[in-house]
Symmetry: C2
Subunit: 204 residues, 2 copies
Amino acid sequence: MFAVHGYEGASTRLLAERAGVNLPAIQYYFGSKEGLYRAVVGDIVGQTEAHMAPLSSKMRAMLASSAISRAELLELLCEMLEAFVALVTGGPQVESKRLLFARAEVEATPGLEELHENGRRQIFQPCLDLVSRLIGRPPEDEATVLCTMAVIGQVTIFCHNKVQHLLKTAEFTPERVRAIQALVRSHTMAIFAAQQPIPANQSE
Amino acid sequence: MFAVHGYEGASTRLLAERAGVNLPAIQYYFGSKEGLYRAVVGDIVGQTEAHMAPLSSKMRAMLASSAISRAELLELLCEMLEAFVALVTGGPQVESKRLLFARAEVEATPGLEELHENGRRQIFQPCLDLVSRLIGRPPEDEATVLCTMAVIGQVTIFCHNKVQHLLKTAEFTPERVRAIQALVRSHTMAIFAAQQPIPANQSE
DNA sequence: GACATAGTCTATCGCTCGATATAATTCCGC
DNA sequence: GCGGAATTATATCGAGCGATAGACTATGTC
């Protein structure tokens, strides 16, 4: 309900009715409407962390090892993006999760900042680090940030609500998910393969 | 106000106060809050059309001419994306326009569908046609749609509100706009340059 | 100077919102 | 099967919402 109608739009009466409980149950169990909202966001944050955990640790391990080839960096970035695609197109309550992700970029409601901060930490920062190495510029550089955003934008657009009307069916079938993953992978490969090899002046 | 607070969040009292008029003026001049909203959306739609008009007609002319090279198609697509970047980062009331674009993808408020439909017509459809020719698949194909969405996603991400917190300054300076345009161009060139040449079995 | 029109003002209507006070009910150890 | 705690149901509060009624003011016409 929060994802579909927004925080303001999802009234406590609607929430209680859909949950099959009485109205004051929200205050009884969650303190307030905001408390319920934060619980929802926290649940999704947890799902995200669980989903990205294995890849995150793998990446941390590989980046820690002294020598890592450009091809390995690129492969890590592609896996990261593929995991992001899987995150926003699968798992429990996909539709709601995707919409809530999209809302986090627009709405300024309590708790959504946690969701956004989580996305920054779990998705953006790892990608930024990889892109930084791939283009041989520090992650603080604006060019690095912009490039990372553009690459990630290829995925985030599939979170949008109305954009899905461009497709005949709104559902993310396994075939479609694989198609998107393959698409993002090939694009990303093309983007960074064409890049000149690292000028070897990056740190470490 | 609509862009920042959303349709529901921008109360008529707030709107009237910020406009320096009395409360019933909204109903007097626009019939209702929704009428005012539609007027706002209509204004932005008009801006968008005016902004994209020259490129649209140029593209229509080139596509109508029988022979058009792959390089020319690619150049057209890049110009289209650059114009899209310019659209969401410049012109009057940039910030509001960008936020409203982002909201159009999430909110289901009256009149926003017009904004979304306009984006589909002015941006997505032309890009879809170009991508269709570039990858040699009909525009109805899901693969064509997905590819176009991914390419456009590189730009739409810059419409997001919170994502901009990733940058040190939120403002879109001319240098930053040019950097984004160059970035999107180089990415798009890489994506479609690596593609195998058209199998020559596309229509026309 | 009387009058019609256009536009603005204050006050308020009916409604929905989140939250709560309070009563009724269910649950569970004993 | 009883008593107290946990939970649920009913009724309602105060606030804010969009919209409107109706009085007031400015303006142009004759």
